[in-house]
């Protein structure tokens, strides 16, 4: 005797148990969210990879006083840079680090003041890199500049956000060390730095298409057979939420 699938979902049964009504355990209501016994979707791989469900915590500015040397740095910048109110979008203090969110078109000006002002003296630009906050808002590409003051032994992060396809001024005239790091950010995220002396790819081949570190750029990879089972590529494995 064949077992018919239960039209109401749930476990198909041969026949209703004796005395069962519609609330019988065999006729649980269908669950739209869950599929399978453990609520997985996709390949069912349990290797623990995946987890590409991205959350977008909202970014909020920090209230004064910021603590540590952060007030001093912010005040010094405000005093030395007349366009402070227009250029600084947000000040965030988190985990003992100061982040100044800068209007992208002002980034080179702010960097110049940060380097030259006597009470700031951020002589070294340690790092320039990008982050792609896909689906957060239009200005999804963020460029972060980690500045180091050797005189005062301080660190500050500048962050500028632009939309995909947008551009912002290069800081190479202020910090020549940003040359290759801006090239890498262009290479990986497609951020265009205007005024850069030689904005070409640096890590990927010259004729590469696309910008690999963007979040909508796939990781790539092929399924691999291991002991008879097929293991999907890392970006298609099981998702943890």
């Amino acid at each position: 005797m064949s077992i018919e699938p239960n039209p109401n979902g749930g476990v198909p049964v041969d026949a209703d148990p004796v005395g069962a009504d519609i609330d019988a355990p065999a006729q649980v209501p269908p669950n739209q969210q869950q599929k399978g016994m453990f609520g997985i979707s996709g390949t069912g791989d349990v290797s623990g990879f995946g987890g590409l469900v991205r959350r977008r915590p909202e970014l909020v500015g920090s209230p004064r006083p910021y603590g540590s040397y952060f007030d001093e740095v912010t005040d010094a910048l405000e005093e030395a840079y007349p366009g402070f109110a227009d250029a600084i979008e947000k000040v965030v203090v988190d985990r003992d680090e100061l982040t100044l969110h800068i209007a992208p078109e002002k980034i080179a000006e702010v960097a110049q003041v940060m380097r030259d002002d006597e009470s700031l003296r951020f002589e070294l630009c340690s790092s320039v890199s990008g982050v792609d906050y896909l689906n957060s808002d239009v200005r999804r590409l963020h460029v972060t500049y980690q500045l180091t003051s050797m005189t005062y032994r301080r660190r500050v992060r500048l962050e500028a956000a632009i939309p995909a396809g947008g551009s912002l001024p290069s800081v190479t005239s202020v910090y020549p060390t940003a040359d290759w790091q801006e090239r890498e950010t262009y290479d990986m995220f497609g951020v265009v730095f205007t005024g850069h002396p030689n904005l070409t790819r640096v890590l990927m081949p010259d004729d590469w298409e696309g910008h690999p570190q963007r979040k909508d750029y796939p990781l790539g990879g092929v399924p691999v057979e291991y002991k008879g089972a097929e293991i999907p590529p890392p970006d298609q494995r099981r998702v943890y939420q």
Partner: protein, 447 residues
Amino acid sequence: MSSSSVGTGSGYATERETTEGRVFTVTGGDWDTVTGSIDPLSNEKIVVNMGPQHPSTHGVLRLVLELEGETVTEARPVVGYLHTGIEKNLEYRNWTQGTTFVTRADYLAPLFNEAAYCMAVEKLLGITDQITERANTIRVLFMELNRVSSHLVWLATTGMELGAISMMLYGFREREYILDIFEETSGLRMNHAYFRPGGVAQDIPESAIRKIRDFLVYMPKKLKEYEAMLSGQIIWQERTQGVAVLDVTGCLALGITGPVLRSAGLAWDLRKTMPYCGYETYEFDVPTATTADVWGRYQVRIAEIRESLKIVEQALDRLKPGPIFVADKKIAWPAQLAVGLDGMGTSLEHVAKIMGQSMESLIHHFKLVTEGFRVPPGQVYVSIESPRGELGVHAVSDGGTHPYRVHMRDPSFVNLQAIPAMAEGALLADVIAGGASLDPVMGGCDR
């Protein structure tokens, strides 16, 4: 072209019949006109591609050099031949697995990559001050041993490139001693994945500590030998002194840190200026030189090996028994790891416990190993003093079990920008010496 010569059968060469058979006479007369048309005074400029497969470029670095005779007029480094997408791959693994990726970036200083990455994750988690004293001491101990081994490879390869082949053999021989210590502890010579977010993977065995003690006696003698072999040697002096000069201004503008900056006279060492892992409690000096040339960098690195040995000795003395991982079981790796016949793996006792005795332990183990722990959203930048300079990790979390973005500020990548400044206007041979003095590791540069 007309075939004018009499007796030219094929039209290319004169021929005549002899008793042995037909003989062709070929002359290269037209080469005279080719070479004669080149004016040696006004047309000496040639472009040479050095690399990417050249033993003297430290891995797959390519230098495009424009030469006038022996003088380099323009030098352009080309990188990216070893790009492996480590940063992108990290985004598809959990936070703990990340350490196995970053260790492969700068392969001569794997423990520094791991340390910087783990410290960034710990800062994101807010557990920096919960790292146990023993874990921090082991980290310092191993980082300093790694610094010695990295500087030894620098000495070895630079020696080879400048003609001192025996230095190459000695440097790699002593480095092997350190790699044995690493193998004894982590199960691997390189790419250890030994530091983990929250501590270190497993404790140092007694045998490794004995080996380190032996090494502390052995190494200073060898250092004296190196200096006896190189420092007074006239070829070594000629090849290094006054070569590839870059002063403090140039270093700061180009973002050069590490021994190159210290060879110019600025005692900027993050272990002193922005201490981490308890470096402020160790006694050591920051060696500097004032010559700002390859010679200065050689002297700084030799002195740094001595300072590192000092730190190793102090770390050994303060190594007290205690936990090597944070107490928080939501983060600490559940498996007690042990070195087995096939390298490091889960200890058999732990497997017996989770499989035979405790269902809760099994669930906990499974969740933490497959899914990983969650890291609160935010971003941090952590930097440490690697053998090549400032190694920074910019880590961003969105609150999930995987890194949202990790960027490694690798000193090799930044420092290579100094090659044009060092090489242009100098001799071709000095490009090798100058490039070597930066100690670039392409695995770190290209990531």
